[in-house]
């Protein structure tokens, strides 16, 4: 077990390094010239060349990568002479567009994204899984068809549609909620909840639709298993058969899906964040692309991918805890 964890963590670190390399190379072959972007219209070739040198973009690519990688662990400084910008470890680059370290920008955007993801996660897991179980137990009845119908609607409606419809009716037309304005929950809990309620619902609806179906199918598969028949043959009450034997096996795969989905969301829910003006990582990512703020785009890509990789490891380890058949060797 310990050996397995050590090996998995090591391979994860290797994977993350590889990831930085791929992302870095990917963005370095883009036709956009970051040095040209540093100054406006009245730009002379001399200024561009000077900026290129200050940013370290005149170095060979592998050397740039090395400096970048070093920056993540020990920090680095940009520029020279009087115009130096220090970038503390973990340095993911410096956004000259925004005059701020990429790490700081991501840290600023993280709380909104985190609260959005966590709230929606709780909402969709409770509703999706419970409705999925309910649906499986009422298989073929009208309740099952209703739940599956709702799920199909959730599947089919894109989040920008539901998001805009809710925004229009609930906020603009009926004015049931004030216009979204994100604050920290520790600062103004009421305003926080008023702002987050609709984004949570929009995001949760989308995912819950998927989880209803997933849970229902898992439960139906499980309830058809031989060991469920054994449990009935023992003389157990149907309630216990379903709860102790059915749910235990049926919900295990949901853990994997849920872990990965949550990690994916921590990298930003672009559409929902945009609609409700949440200053999260998703919004930040879109803005960085629109502004051609390359260091920021690279930084967000790395962080988002890291979440997924780490979540993958956690989910695998967790799975070994839940399923005794999984041997960690």
């Amino acid at each position: 077990m310990t050996g397995y964890i050590v090996r998995r963590v090591l391979s994860m670190v290797l994977m993350l390094l590889l990831l930085t390399l791929v992302v870095f190379l990917l963005f370095s072959v883009l036709p956009t010239d970051p040095a040209r972007l540093t100054c406006g219209k009245a730009c002379t070739p001399e200024v561009v060349a000077a900026n290129r040198h200050n940013l370290g973009l005149d170095l060979p690519v592998w050397e740039q990568y090395w400096v970048y990688l070093k920056g993540i662990f020990v920090g680095r400084t940009f520029g020279s002479g009087t115009a130096t910008y220090s970038c503390d470890a973990p340095c993911l680059g410096y956004s000259f567009k925004r005059g701020e370290q990429v790490t700081v920008l991501i840290k600023e955007g993280f709380p909104a994204t985190f609260w959005l993801a966590i709230g929606a996660f709780i909402l969709w897991i409770t509703s999706g899984v419970s409705l999925g179980i309910y649906s499986a137990l009422r298989r073929g009845k009208w309740q099952d068809k209703l739940v599956m119908g709702v799920s199909l609607v959730g599947y089919s409606l894109p989040s920008f549609f539901i998001g805009l419809v809710l925004l229009f009716f609930v906020i603009l037309k009926w004015q049931l909620l004030p216009y979204p304005d994100y604050v920290s929950p520790f600062e103004n809990p009421l305003q926080f909840f008023q702002t987050m309620l609709l984004p949570w619902i929009v995001l949760a609806f989308l995912y819950a639709a998927f989880y209803m179906r997933l849970t229902r199918n898992q439960m139906l598969d499980t309830l058809g298993e031989d060991y469920i028949r054994t449990a009935r043959a023992k003389g157990l009450r149907e309630r216990i058969v379903i709860r102790r034997h059915g749910l235990r096996a049926g919900l295990t795969p949901i853990v994997t899906a849920a872990g990965l989905d949550l990690a994916g969301l921590l990298g930003g829910a672009i559409i929902t964040e945009r609609i409700y003006s949440l200053p999260g990582i998703g919004s930040l990512a879109v803005n960085s692309v629109v502004d051609a703020d390359l260091p920021l785009t690279v930084g967000i890509t790395l962080v988002t991918a890291t979440f997924i990789i780490v979540a993958n490891l956690i989910v695998d380890l967790l799975y070994a805890v839940i399923d005794p058949r999984v041997r960690l060797v």
Binding site: D226, Y227, R232, A233, K234, G235, L236, R244, R248, P324
Partner: protein
């Protein structure tokens, strides 16, 4: 086990009368079991044989009350120790399951819950029916594991099913079935998923336990070797019906229904040339939705022209007594049936069963 009630030592402990199981489907009514009757006394073993889809497993699950009454129509009578289970409520039958009657299944790996230790599953089985604490239930479980021949039961009890071998798993299943001292044990293909050497051990174990606990056993199998090994009486099923019923001697030495003959001839024989060793029954089992008009076996029967003209195509044969305790469902005249059997199984009559 000492409280022998109405069944007594000689009378039938389980009496199945005109059992029918139907599943309504969109394509029509599936008549999986159509009027099956048999009975088993304590200490005796009845084998139900037949191909896949003949209704043998459905019959056993109907006895155990494992069919969902919303999706299956079960009619007829299943009288267990004087109590009709078809007329009883779900909860009454549930309380008998695992206590008065138990069942073991074909594939012990998929029949045990993969996420719980053997011990947990055994303790659960004890505590459904007995008001004892976990420690006492565990002690019972260990004793039973020991009884079914699992070495180091006090350690193996904490294993997960996947950590045991196939034979050990089936022993665990048997232990689980016997924990509450059932008087009826239904074994649905108990050896099919096991190695041949393990098969023999499991059958021996079942025989020993039967002698010890005086259990009535219903064994469901398509393996005639198993039947010859353990059964006292045999029921042959085809297309959801009972087509021949008799003692193990009747079935192996004096079979009369052409389907039974076909089953016997399908066993590989080493006393013939390689080409003649296997003699399969032509065709496929019938669809249980649209059964043939006359005899269900008619489309696959090679002897129907020996019966009175056309009768096999139009009239459903009745189950008629052919000898003491021997019933056959066939239109062929009795002497014709016996002649055919003698021809088909010539050598086999001299073999010891």
């Amino acid at each position: 086990m000492s409280t022998n009630t109405t069944g007594g030592a000689t009378g039938p402990f389980i009496d199945v009368r005109d059992l029918r199981v139907e599943f309504p489907t969109e394509d029509g009514m599936v008549r999986a079991v159509d009027g099956v009757s048999f009975s088993v006394a304590r200490g005796r073993t009845l084998a139900i044989v037949g191909e896949s889809g003949s209704g043998k497993s459905v019959t056993s699950q109907a006895i155990m009350g494992l069919h969902n009454r919303k999706t299956a129509n079960v009619t007829g009578q299943v009288i267990l120790d004087g109590q009709d289970l078809v007329a009883a409520t779900d909860d009454e039958v549930r309380l008998l399951r695992g206590q008065k009657m138990s069942m073991i299944f074909q594939d012990p790996l998929s029949s045990l819950h993969p996420f719980y230790t053997v011990g947990k599953q055994l303790v659960e089985a004890v505590r459904v029916h007995q008001d004892v604490n976990k420690a006492a239930a565990r002690a019972q479980a260990i004793a039973m594991l020991d009884r079914v021949g699992i070495p180091n039961p006090d350690r193996r009890i904490d294993d997960y099913p996947h950590q045991l071998s196939g034979g050990m798993r089936q022993r665990v299943m048997i232990a689980m079935a016997l924990l509450n001292g059932p008087s009826l044990l239904i074994a649905d293909e108990p050896t099919t998923a096991l190695d041949v050497t393990v098969q023999a051990q499991i059958l021996q174990l079942l025989r020993d336990l039967q002698a010890e606990f005086n259990t009535a056993i219903i064994i469901i199998t398509h393996d005639l070797g198993v039947v010859a090994d353990v059964a006292d009486e045999v029921v042959v099923m085809y297309g959801g019906r009972l087509v021949e019923h008799g003692s193990v001697d009747d079935i192996f030495h004096r079979p009369e229904m052409p389907y039974t003959l076909g089953l016997l001839a399908s066993m590989p024989r080493l006393d013939k040339g390689r080409a003649d060793r296997l003699d399969p029954i032509p065709g496929l089992p019938p669809s249980l939705i649209r059964l043939p008009q006359g005899c269900v076996f008619r489309p696959r029967c090679t002897y129907h022209q020996l019966a009175p003209a056309g009768v096999c195509d139009t009239v459903r044969p009745d189950l008629l007594t052919s000898g003491p305790g021997h019933e056959v469902r066939c239109h062929l005249p009795a002497d014709v049936r016996r002649t055919i059997a003698a021809e088909r199984l010539g050598h086999r009559q001299e073999e010891s069963v």
